[in-house]
């Protein structure tokens, strides 16, 4: 009755390990282990828990739940392996009629496909995350030091530009693909999703995975970079508020944010969805509408972050990770963030000398706009050396300016390369 063959059919997660190329089987097991490791590091606070815990579990599960399945052709007996979670390439064929039919079929089969198709692959989830981040931002920090913040942010974009020629020369990527991966140096997850969708949709999945994996790693890696580049004497330098600091009311901040939103959208319509989302969050925060603020800063932000992490984990199946294009993308993403970190700290040194020693160089790392992670990293490193040194307000100013400069870069890349063939 129950034969070995029937057991093999039941436990397809194991059977499929032996039915494919051994290197895919090893990759699946490795990714399951990596998923557990990310969860552990997230729980321990080494990496960003909000992304890493759902991502780690998603990664481990998707590589376990592999079965013999062809959703578009169930009668296919060619032992194609698949899963019941998501099909990233659904609806990506040339024939639009076939596309719609395939997508509808997949939407009815894969349980996370609606989240992927209707929120992830069109950038909606990135906009939701930006709204939530906006509702946590106080633009008063930028108003207090607009030039310092903007200069630090510009230095911290070094990786977004230097990686482009490196990617085309050594990674053999086209200019559009190089720009899509280089913007990882801006360290702004939603902006990376948006730019890769516009410039290199075929690389969207690996770039999104690489970007968020590394954004999580900045949390663990940047403190070492800071200690390497900034001596303890400078790390412990206290920072004081500007002497002539003007206080702005919530109403004034709301007006500034609204005008900036419209002005930036005039300049960069390509990045307008993200610019609007960010400033909408800021406006809601300053408007005093507590119900909206609680909704955007709570369920919208945390719900989107949770599904984003989960989706990224689900996309980390062995087939995607073993794509030959992913290794150069992994290296280039890492390089972009490293160069941006170095650029940020060089900016910190620049402001230290320009201000006559009043700016702590560590604040430069916060120009890498991973809001608010890099600002927290900067303060954490400084607090270890001098518990009385508070650099958080200046760091948050640089952080917010970093979001603005990354939006500018996304707009420039998308506009300049829109009609570019390569």
């Amino acid at each position: 009755m129950i034969t070995l063959e029937s057991l093999k059919e039941i436990f397809q997660g194991f059977t499929s390990l032996f039915a494919v190329d051994p290197k895919f089987a090893v990759a699946r097991l490795g990714l399951i282990a990596l998923g557990f490791l990310l969860m552990y590091l997230g729980r321990k606070g080494v990496l960003e828990a909000l992304i890493m815990i759902p991502m780690g579990l998603g990664m481990a599960t998707i590589n376990a739940a592999v079965m013999f399945f062809d959703p578009l052709n169930p009668a296919n007996t060619a032992r194609r392996v698949g899963n019941l979670f998501v099909e990233p390439q659904a609806g990506a064929s040339v024939d639009s009629m076939q596309n719609a039919a395939d997508l509808m079929t997949i939407l009815q089969i894969d349980w996370l496909q609606p989240i992927y198709t209707f929120t992830f692959s069109n950038g909606l989830i990135a906009c939701f995350v930006f709204m939530g981040i906006g509702s946590l931002l106080d633009i008063g920090f930028v108003l207090a030091r607009p030039f310092t913040s903007m200069i630090l942010a510009l230095f911290a974009e070094l990786g977004s530009f230097l990686t482009i020629p490196i990617a085309t020369t050594f990674g053999h990527l086209t200019l559009k693909e190089a720009a899509a991966i280089s913007i990882v140096g801006g360290a702004d997850g939603p902006m990376v999703l948006f730019t890769s969708l516009k410039l290199a949709p075929h690389l969207f999945v690996p770039i999104a995975v690489v970007a968020y994996l590394y954004l999580g790693l900045t949390y663990g890696g940047y403190p070492y970079l800071i200690k390497l580049m900034v001596p303890k004497r400078l790390r412990s330098l206290p920072m004081y508020p500007p002497k002539k600091q003007v206080q702005y009311s919530a109403f004034e901040k709301m007006v500034v944010a609204s005008v900036m939103c419209v002005a930036l959208s005039f300049l960069l319509p390509v990045a307008a969805p993200l610019i609007f989302s960010l400033f909408f969050g800021v406006v809601v925060r300053e408007s005093g509408i507590k119900a909206f603020q609680d909704f955007i800063g709570g369920p919208v932000l945390y719900g989107s972050t949770m599904f984003l992490g989960l989706m990224l984990g689900i996309l980390c199946d062995a087939n995607t990770i073993m794509d030959p294009k992913i290794l150069p993308l992994l290296l280039l993403g890492c390089l972009a963030l490293l160069l941006s970190g170095i650029g940020g700290l060089l900016g910190g040194y620049f402001m230290y000398f320009v201000s006559g020693g009043k700016v702590n160089p560590v604040v430069g790392i916060a120009g890498v706009s991973c809001v608010p992670t890099t600002a927290k990293v900067a303060q954490k490193v400084v607090s270890k050396d001098n518990p009385h040194a508070v650099i958080m307000p200046a760091a948050l100013g640089a952080n917010i300016s970093g979001v603005i400069t990354t939006a500018i870069i996304a707009g420039i890349f998308c506009s300049l390369l829109a009609k570019f063939a390569g």
Binding site: V142, L143, P146, F147, S149, M150, I151, A153, L154, E157, F161, L162, I164, P165, A167, T168, T169, L175, A178, A179, V246, Y248, S249, F251, E252, V255, V256, V259, M260, A263, L264, L267, S287, G288, I289, A291, S401, I404, T405, I408, I409, I412, F413, L416
Partner: protein, 72 residues
């Protein structure tokens, strides 16, 4: 070479835009400060009065009236 030129051009444009915004922010903040937009600002009251809040107001009004009467 083409990608290097593109990267430099894009960096240059970003610096120009960012500096324009850095000049624009304090200028805008200064103008808004001078306009005194929030001099009559009241906290937005978006909550509908409930029977509880009306009762509270009545209680406060009665307490004020009693205090006024006692002072007399």
């Amino acid at each position: 070479m083409e990608s290097l030129k593109f990267a430099l051009a894009a960096y240059g444009l970003t610096i120009v835009f960012a500096m324009l915004i850095a000049c624009f922010i304090p200028a805008l903040a200064f103008v808004i400060k001078k306009m005194h937009l929030d001099r009559d600002e009241e906290s937005p009251d978006l909550v509908m009065p409930s029977s509880d809040s009306m009762k509270e107001e009545e209680t406060v009004a009665v307490a004020i009236a009693v205090a006024h009467f006692q002072r007399k």
